[in-house]
Symmetry: C2
Subunit: 383 residues, 2 copies
């Protein structure tokens, strides 16, 4: 059976990216590797829509999230955490681990945080040092209005920190133009690489905060995630610690692919695929979980009477289709179908087809052909 990976991370990597990983290991302190760092760094700036340096950290995405917190807010400082799911909670948990006072602005799973809620929280807590947010809440499939958040934070002292791990490169997110202060992402989603690298970009305003924090009495206790080291080394196209250099070499190829297509074309393509995936919901007789869905994944509610965990198993066993279920309290209650990175429309169509074939076996009859046709009609509707 032909396996197809449609989980919202890791996502498949292009063949030439994978083959690069099979090439011999090379030394990282060399002019050749410095040239790779330079090229990758410029292409990352393009993806982040920023003129500021984008730093590459060998870590899971959570590593870059920790770097964002540890370097911008001292213990005892205040964070407004916008929480619409598990990944918004991840920000909150990191803040708590670092002794940051958390003001939580929380919405029920499936909903997005309204900019007005942020405005109200900031009015009540004008001393907030940071605001954490999530571009695409991968746990629920919601998108958040980062542009709207930035309009509010720009006029305040608070830095806007964005988890772009499953959103950046998929949906419009203009770091400089919108005035976002910190954006983090990981290698295993839109950047079409296996997991292992995390990335962080900071605005000039954020860098001022970082540099003054380190000079003050509450200097961050950080070493591996002291992002000044990465910035200072990057100025010479170098890294502070032995990087996952074969992954960086491979990243170069994935970024070229992304750049050749053009970031705005990527956004359009993902949006079109997302519309197709959402159009399948009604004929599949499944509700969409997210009220304002993100473009990198589509989340279907599993009907009460259906075993959501067993469906995942059947999709993989019978059809080679690997999608994700819910995490924590959402386990068995949702199906998460990714359409980001190196996943194309025809794979989404395959997944919808497999759902159409599988759901009836779990006591949830659907009309054969209805969902794939709806998917196709939505896709044919154009970019």
């Amino acid at each position: 059976m032909k396996p197809r990976l449609l989980t919202p991370g890791p996502t498949p990597a292009p063949e030439e990216t994978l083959l690069e990983l099979a090439r011999p290991v090379t030394f990282h302190r060399s002019s050749q590797f410095r040239a790779v760092i330079k090229e990758v760094s410029e292409d990352l700036q393009y993806v982040f829509c920023t003129k500021q340096p984008v730093l590459t950290i060998t870590a899971s995405g959570t590593g870059a999230m920790e770097a964002a917190i540890a370097n911008t807010v001292p213990p005892g400082g205040k964070a407004i955490c916008l929480v619409s799911g598990r990944w918004g909670e991840r920000w909150r948990n990191i803040c708590k681990a670092f002794g940051v006072t958390v003001v939580e602005v929380k919405v029920p799973y499936g909903e997005s945080v309204a900019p007005a809620a942020l405005a109200a929280a900031l009015k009540e807590h004008p001393d907030a040092a940071i605001v954490t947010s999530t571009l695409s809440e991968t746990a629920t499939g919601c998108r958040n209005d980062i542009k709207g958040f930035a309009e509010i934070t720009r006029a305040s002292e608070a830095l806007l920190i964005v988890d772009g791990i499953s959103g950046l490169g998929v949906m419009e997110c203009r770091m400089d133009d919108w005035g976002i202060d910190v954006v983090v992402t990981g290698s295993q989603k839109a950047l079409m690489l296996p997991p292992g690298l995390a990335f962080i970009g900071l605005s000039q305003r954020a860098w001022k905060r970082v540099d003054s924090l380190y000079q003050g009495p509450s200097a961050p206790k950080a070493f591996y995630f002291d992002i000044r080291k990465y910035r200072d080394n990057l100025a010479g196209n170098d890294t502070p610690f032995t990087p996952a250099n074969t992954l960086v070499r491979a990243l170069r190829l994935s970024l070229k692919r992304l750049r050749d297509e053009g970031i705005e074309n990527c956004w359009k393509r993902y949006s079109r695929m997302a519309r197709a995936a959402r159009a399948a919901a009604a004929p599949l007789r499944l509700e969409l979980y997210a009220k304002d869905p993100a473009d990198g994944l589509t989340v279907y509610k599993v009907p009460e009477a259906v075993d959501g965990v067993a469906i995942l198993g059947a999709l993989e066993k019978d059809h080679g289709i690997r999608v994700a279920g819910g995490q924590d309290v959402l386990k068995g209650k949702i199906i998460r179908l990714a359409h980001m990175g190196y996943i194309d429309y025809f794979e989404v169509l395959a997944a919808v087809s497999a759902l159409e074939l599988t759901l009836p076996k779990f006591g949830h009859p659907v009309e054969p052909g209805a969902a794939v046709a709806a998917c196709q009609r939505a896709y044919a509707g154009g970019a």
Copy 2:
């Protein structure tokens, strides 16, 4: 020209390990990947010579070093740092970044720290919470007497923390038998993988310290490097954060190779290769930099009159041989030839041959054949 990588990290990876990295990306929350984690975890215990869990962190080796410090000693606590080079200094710098009081026991570059010096420091500072040490000081090529250190720390309250990044798997290091408390290593040396993963093992005594620290008033401010998360997830063959899972899959193959050979046979093989590399020094008219040399690399002093940076360039340009120079103050002053991981004797012989061919071009005449013959005689001398 055929390139040969003989730097003390990264080191070459076996072909089957690299090819595994070219296989499609897979999902990490699956029974298949849990089986890989289980197998890798057991094989890591074998390499660490421990019955305790060995944790895999997606990070450079320095990430695991930070985890060792952040989880075992609170800010304001005291560390005795045994420093014989740049990597011993790395421990000291991490301690300082975390507000740990540092007692430095320092020897000149090229020398190893004597256990008696540790005993004296511990007598003077019986309140030391940890002792940091380096099995193989990659910056100078020295080995340190970890067994001797452990005999001293075992009888104290201080935990012995060992940087095994370029030493573990190369030289005898028996975590449980010797009574070492914390051992860290990285993927890109004896474990024959590209960089990107770091590993840490802790004794029961160290785990007690960790758990009590988190319960106390000086609970570590850690999230990504909160090693309890890794331990607790590993109990279910899982990971707390999206791991570099294709690297873990590849690690499985490298560890099998290591296990098939047997760790003690590995130690013997590296020792034999190291003797051969050291035997080349005299006929090359080069001094050995390390008084008590490690087995994973051999460090030759560059004579005053010779341009040590230019030699490195010529070795690579003319012969495809990539060795490393010195770092920081040692730049241009030493040549570091690695013989660890997937580097075999014949590559060491090639490097010695290339040195014999190259040194005369830099005003340092040597007798053709003398060094390769000496190398060969030492190697033929047996295991």
